[in-house]
Symmetry: C2
């Protein structure tokens, strides 16, 4: 069994487990109480705060423990926006942030705020100049992840932080994916993170607010955690989170080099082993353990299922694996293929042999899925004008529209067009991506009676 989804959650680190065991006995009481059990819990909490602050690179009184990374993001964004209400109501986020950031932005917008969603390049990276261009006199807050959770691309946080600082705007960095690998560089103002991403227990997030940043906690008053995280402190889990953060950071340099080599193997060998694959994300400025690729003519759910049967746990940004039937917003923003998408995120300690086994198993799994889907399907070729073929893929889900397009492209005369009728959300992303991969021209999308018509011109 190989668990390759540490970007979702990592198994409990041995140090975290030991710390939990010890602090169940020592840290269960209310740290606000004056008696000895309370004082003991307080000591543990204070020590954990110091350890976490040291790992983050901030003062202990700038850091509070929340109940999750999501909660840290929600509280951080709403507190920073409220603290700068008088400056304005403009929020900047990147288009590839974690959903907790994007949903906070949606809520802000619904409440009358203004939101700029900074676009990314095909590698999933923002340009500092886009942030600079978005900053204005009414900007209350900017948010940027340290690295992307789906494709591993690192963002230019230090540079964006400098630009924000010059404009007098605080920058909130969602460091959920990177903090275990080391401190976030640059002069950021707020930072959030999540312990279960680095092998700490679930139920612990970090919210750091630098001294001098205007911050107004929202929600009902609560005296715990400087008024920034309501509810009884989970001291044992906090102790374990801090201890494991220090442990993984201590191992980070060595482990990063090892995992980077392993993910590099996947990056370079998958396209040679599996035809019609697009590896996505920045090839160089990336997290050590994440590699993501998409396979043409494959449906993500079946692929994940087959990989699970073969003993590999990975995740996918394909539409068919989500309940909403829309492809991942990250792949969408990058404009890359989403069908047959696989994210491999290796936990520290992953062995070379596990990766080799994955590389040996993957080609057969993908071709098996393709074979299943390649079976003849009922497609109506509607007679049309001399140079315009129409493929009716209405009611068919990803990856069928692209498969049908690929089947008929040979029938289209060079320079002629084919119209693919589809009501599947993923087609909007995957047909242009297929054109790019195949050297065909994507002409554009037109409204149709049902769904849309995607027009493709044959060039090759």
């Amino acid at each position: 069994m190989s668990y390759f989804d540490s970007a979702s959650a990592a198994p409990l680190h041995p140090v975290a487990r030991q710390a939990l065991q010890a602090s169940f006995d020592e840290g269960w009481a209310d740290p606000a109480r004056l008696y000895r059990e309370g004082r003991r819990a307080r000591l543990l909490l204070d020590a954990a705060r110091e350890a976490a602050a040291e790992a983050v690179g901030c003062r202990p009184d700038e850091l509070v423990f929340t109940t999750s990374g999501t909660r840290a993001v929600h509280s951080g964004i709403e507190g920073a926006l409220a603290g700068r209400r008088r400056v304005g109501h403009h929020l900047i986020v990147s288009a590839v942030e974690h959903s907790s950031v994007l949903h906070s932005a949606d809520l802000h917008e619904a409440a009358g705020g203004a939101v700029t969603r900074v676009q990314v390049d095909r590698a999933g990276r923002v340009s500092p100049s886009s942030y600079a261009g978005a900053l204005g006199p009414g900007t209350a807050l900017a948010c940027l992840q340290s690295a992307n959770h789906e494709v591993g691309t690192e963002q230019p946080v230090a540079e964006v932080a400098r630009l924000c600082r010059e404009a007098g705007v605080p920058l909130l960095v969602d460091a959920a994916q990177s903090l275990g690998w080391g401190r976030v560089e640059g002069d950021w103002s707020l930072l959030t993170a999540s312990a279960h991403k680095w092998g700490g227990p679930a139920g612990v997030g970090l919210l750091v607010v630098r001294k001098g940043v205007r911050f107004a906690p929202q929600g009902p008053a609560d005296e715990r955690e400087s008024g920034r995280a309501a509810g009884f402190e989970n001291v044992p889990a906090i102790v374990a989170a801090a201890a494991s953060l220090r442990a993984v950071q201590a191992e980070a340099a060595q482990e990063a080099a090892r995992l980077r080599e392993l993910t590099e193997r996947i990056r370079t060998r998958v396209p040679t082993l599996v035809p019609d694959v697009e590896v996505v994300g920045d090839a160089v400025r990336r997290l050590p353990g994440i590699v993501t690729f998409s396979c043409l003519y494959v449906d993500g759910e079946t692929l994940l299922h087959e990989l699970d049967r073969a003993g590999f746990s990975v995740s996918s940004g394909s539409s068919c694996t989500s309940s909403t039937l829309t492809p991942s917003h990250v792949l969408k923003a990058m404009g890359v293929l989403s069908e047959g998408n696989v994210r491999v995120s290796l936990p520290p300690g992953t062995g070379e042999e596990d990766v080799e086994r994955f590389l040996s198993v993957l080609p057969g799994v993908v071709s098996g899925v393709r074979e299943k889907l390649g079976a003849p399907t009922a497609v109506t070729k509607v007679p049309a004008s001399v140079d315009a073929l129409v493929v009716d893929a209405l009611g068919r889900r990803c990856p069928i529209p692209v498969i049908e397009l690929a089947k008929v492209i040979g029938d289209v005369p060079l320079g002629g067009t084919v119209r693919v009728l589809s009501d599947d959300e993923a087609a909007r992303l995957d047909i242009p991506a297929w054109c790019e991969m195949r050297g065909q021209e994507y002409v554009g999308e037109e409204p149709a009676e049902h769904g849309s018509a995607y027009v493709v011109r044959r060039l090759a």
Copy 2:
């Protein structure tokens, strides 16, 4: 060492510890994922939800796990208020709710909502007719605790629930203190609870919303826990919370009888062992493990400190033990003495010998504190009209104003009055309470140049 503060937090139940150990291995992955580790976590989460729902007496799909009791209350109140926004903006709470309820009410009021705070009798109990009187056509929600956290008084939840149901108003019951003892009776609409009160781990609360109750979750969208509790689910802690809830409920009937007898000993014997003590809270309709009393002429912080030195961990609603220097809102609403306040809350399994040792130690501890405070203090007796003595206790903190009053009452002619000048918030509560205990007449409070003048007429 005797830990007598289980109403704050209970040590981890052995069943909770076992469940945690097991589910660290089985339940750390993301339950939303399709691979085997995710499916295993999902199975554990589903089973825990069923067990908790069974213990609460609701359907599994009516129950979500939050990250604390406080969070359950915050989310429950704001979601129910938002869901009934069209009905009106009126919220009813009792004056003795947990601070998470009262702070939610304060926030609602600050945002333009109307709040009725239903008063309690001297035992800390609301009358159903007060709730009936408060219900109106614009009432969106009513809240009532199942039992009070500071004095143990049980509230008439079933009757209030019936009245609310007749008025078409949902009732939210904060069951934090009672759920370990059994289901909450009556036709309530929403229920909240907190696992660390029953020996579950910190980091888990319950929010139950009955089918048919209008509920609109607030805050940024999040797909977890039916959209009602944002953030990665803490599956191991949830499993442990559910398992320990079942375990303590199974032991509840037997343990309740035992603890009730032990707290009854404290209720009846403390007043015979320690002079000038008021036992507070309902003598009959109360939780099994909680007993609360206040000692005249004693400051709560010193008392707690001395009890801690003697090996007893208890808490206090006295002003001097809180950072705000105001007495507990519960004691205030009850109109009982707050100085030298002690809450004893026995965890399940407390031995008879621990309670006997407490009863043997307490008298010496109290008299020691009184001796220290009884030392002569600089009090100015200002010459005044023939029947009016003035005690200047300005700048002196609880319990000094009451001690000075007690010292001079003998100098006041029968029928004459004494004015106590005090700027201590606790005096407003403790001087009338002293009069009631001593058979003197509390005439009232008058504004003074500094602080207030509390006027007392000598009757005895």
